[in-house]
Amino acid sequence: MELKGWRDIPIGGMILEAGNAVEYLTGGWRAFRPVHGEAECIHCMQCWLFCPDSSILVDPENEKMAGFDLEHCKGCGICASICPVNAKVIKKAGEELARDDPRLCIRMVEEGKFQE
């Protein structure tokens, strides 16, 4: 955002555009990216409940989890850690799985693999 002069900003430090932080793209912080794996999403919305960054997209009409807001997702991995389908897959496998294992519902994949 271009720096404005004192005449062009509201007085008193007030910010009048509610929620304009969306313009600040924290997606660039990521080292890992959440990606849907083979296990099917059951749309339980637990990931939505626990995302610190309001970055789980929701389709309210169809009551479905609609993906990840990659412009803002910081790649914390909480969604993958609490995903109940992930838990089921891990239990079925009977061992620790890598965070990017393709069998998971939400995989945390190295961001580097997505750069051009």
Partner: protein
Amino acid sequence: MSKFEALTGNDAVATAMRQINPDVMAAYPITPQTSTVQKFADFVADGLVDTEFICVESEHSAMSACVGASAAGARVMTATSANGLALMWEIVYIAASNRCPIAMSLVNRALSAPINIHCDHSDVMGIRDSGWIILFSENGQEAYDNIIQAIRIGEHPDVLLPVAVCQDGFITSHSLERVEIFDDADVKAFVGEYKPRWPLLDLEHPKTYGPLDFYDYYYEHKRQQVEAMEHAQGVILEVADEFNRKFNHNYGLFESYRLEDAEVAVIAVNSTAGTIKVVVDQLRDEGLKVGLLKPRVFRPFPARELVDALSHLKAVAVMDRSVSFGAMDNAGPLFLELVAALAFHGVHVPVADYVYGLGGRDILPGEIERVYRDALKVAETGRVERMVTYLSVRE
């Protein structure tokens, strides 16, 4: 219409507060402001005001609640003194920088330590850089008149700054004097309704108050405060003009008493100015050409106007009821600002500083007479022998 009542300075201010009927008052008692909040509490308990009176648990919370209420969109008033002001100092700056038009009665009292409940101006001088508009009052009448005007000054869209109206603790706050109280309806009409521009309570337009600024924006926000201060002087005069016409008064930036044809003058604020007027009359009877300039508006400091009013004089003595420890020759703040104004505007009038009345030490006509006689000597020689004198301290 109006009527005359016997009121203490604090009760006069409380009466004005009743007539203004602010939406919120958050205050904490401290001597010598206490009778203001006690009187106001009576008004609240008797259903004479609509004010939500928050009996906060400290002055810091008082100013914090005032900021919250003002940001919400309410008309807010409060009162304090000395250490109460010192405790709320953090939020005093925040009130100004958040552009909250809070009107405060500041009953001047000495700052600790040692603890002293009597009058001096060390409390208000501690907030002179805070961004508040600061008005001085010689007596209860002026405090009453000033606090009514403070509402209009602070809430003016070109200003939007908090205003402190000072009067001397105990000396005028607790003395009974004849005060002209205007009709409730006239005061109400004068202050009008507060129309906040950016209230938090406007749910349709949610806004954020008090963000974090880095070095990329803080300066610009402060520059805006400077702009508001620059507009304030004009607004103060406009409001005074309207007040003068409606209520038959004569307020401006300062009061000149027998100044036009004077050769020497004293500059002093608040109650001591009253004593000085008596001494001026006495000395005038002796044929001495003396006068008084009593500043009313301290912030914004009307440098140009003060210099113009003083430029014809042969000598000036400033009386300061506080010390700026470690400043040039340990002078008082009024002296320091005035000397800067004269120097900057290239007007050479010799000025001496007289610190007096610290911690409520009495100031007697005889001592004021001495100040004038010193000034007359300076007028003769053109030289100030001693920059700063501490009146009536026991060596």
